[in-house]
């Protein structure tokens, strides 16, 4: 069996930029972990590529060593640290921390706020982030706070309604709250349902009850099996109407 040092030497000889030492897993027989410091070339491709790493892995496997590569990306780390410093410098009173994901050129940013941020404030933070990211060759794809309330999406309102219709607006709001969504008020729910009604996805009956439209049913589609919405619908009917 190869020693961790031999695995490391083999990788270095193959010009794989090993970071730290290769280690042998204490439990898994012949399993090694290796951190590899990857770079991006001018066209944004990872260097060494996954193909190269897979080929090396296969060679080592022939020698009886199963290697698990854990990739680390220094440039990505630097970009994140730079963004954090930039944002904390300008908005230190409002945010505590920020994280960046940039697997592709499109960057996702999360900010950890110290208090509730207004939309305007988040826009300002986003504008600042955009300037910084442009500078390091990234495009801001999405920025969000880590504490945002989980409001039920349009789709979720419809999937809920499909299951329990016909219901009133406040009944629907209550059911969504039971599923741990934040529904700010019945008024909010009414406006959301109204928008869906105007889009032809929800119908409001004379009785004041709401149901999904045929168009919405077709759009939502269905699946076979235990998680089928048709089954949930049937179970919901059975439990409320005996």
């Amino acid at each position: 069996m190869l020693s961790a040092q031999e695995v490391e030497q083999f990788l270095l000889a193959a010009a794989i930029p090993v970071s730290g030492s290769a280690i042998r897993d204490a439990e898994g027989d012949g399993l090694y972990y290796v951190f590899v410091e990857v770079r991006r070339d001018a066209r944004g491709r990872q260097e060494p590529s996954n193909t190269t790493l897979d080929a090396i892995k296969a060679l080592l496997e022939e020698k009886g060593a199963l290697v698990d590569f854990v990739l680390t990306d220094g440039a990505k780390r630097d970009a994140e640290a730079g963004l954090r410093a930039t944002l904390l410098h300008s908005f230190g009173g409002a945010i505590r921390n920020s994280f960046l994901s940039s697997e592709t050129r499109e960057a996702f940013v999360w900010v950890v706020p110290k208090r509730q941020l207004s939309d305007t404030e988040l826009d300002e933070i986003g504008a600042k982030a955009k300037v910084f990211l442009d500078d390091v060759g990234l495009k801001l794809g999405n920025i969000t706070t880590t504490t945002g309330e989980n409001l039920p999406s349009k789709t979720r309102c419809m999937t809920m309604l499909r299951q329990v219709a016909p219901v009133t607006c406040s009944q629907l709001a209550e059911l969504l709250r039971q599923r741990e969504f934040v529904v700010p008020s019945d008024d909010w729910m009414t406006r959301r349902l109204d928008a869906l009604r105007k889009a032809g996805l929800v119908v409001r009956m004379k009785s004041g009850f709401y149901a999904v439209s045929l168009q919405a049913l077709k759009g939502l589609g269905t699946v076979k099996g235990r998680t089928s919405p048709d089954v949930s619908r049937l179970l919901a009917l059975a439990s409320t109407r005996g």
Binding site: S19, G20, S21, D68, V70, F99, E103, T146, T155, S232
Partner: protein, 163 residues
């Protein structure tokens, strides 16, 4: 646990004794890992109860496997319904699941170095921080907060699409 990890980090930096500061330093990596791990496990257990008892090594697979599948399917349906907010929420959760899987792998291997490989010493080359196997303690310090933010992102999107 995060507090304990940070405390160990501070003690490691304050100690003069080489053996002692190494022990405190490597223990802080261990605690940062567990703080992140417990947070991820708690969230995943809420999504599916059988995910509460998984072996550590399988969490990254679950995140890039079943979790990612549900989120991708959800995004497809949201696209079909032209629900732009939900498409965007799913995209964020998908990125979060991939990042979280990577974080779990990296922190778990680092934890193994800390616990089982005393021959790899903590490097105190800087005054105010240290590294273990080239992993900076400032990075480990961020693991729990990152795990929390990304796990929450996944949980929120999951509630939207896994109806």
């Amino acid at each position: 646990m995060e507090v304990v990890a940070h405390h160990l980090q501070m003690i490691a930096l304050a100690r003069r004794n080489v053996a002692e500061r190494d022990s405190f330093g490597r223990s802080s990596y261990n605690r940062y890992y567990y703080a992140a791990f417990l947070c991820v496990r708690q969230v995943l257990a809420q999504l599916r109860s059988e995910w509460e008892t998984l072996p550590h090594a399988t969490y990254p697979e679950v995140l890039t496997g079943k979790v990612l599948k549900v989120l991708s399917d959800g995004r497809k349906q949201a696209q079909k319904m032209q629900d732009r907010d939900l498409v965007s929420q799913c995209s964020r959760a998908i990125v979060a699941a991939r990042e979280l899987a990577h974080l779990m792998r990296k922190s778990s291997v680092t934890r193994k170095v800390a616990d089982y490989h005393p021959e790899i010493l903590v490097n105190f080359a800087h005054v105010d921080r240290f590294t273990l196997n080239s992993v900076d303690i400032t990075e480990a310090h961020q693991w729990p907060a990152r795990a929390k933010a990304w796990a929450r992102e996944i949980e929120n999107a999951w509630r939207q699409v896994n109806a």
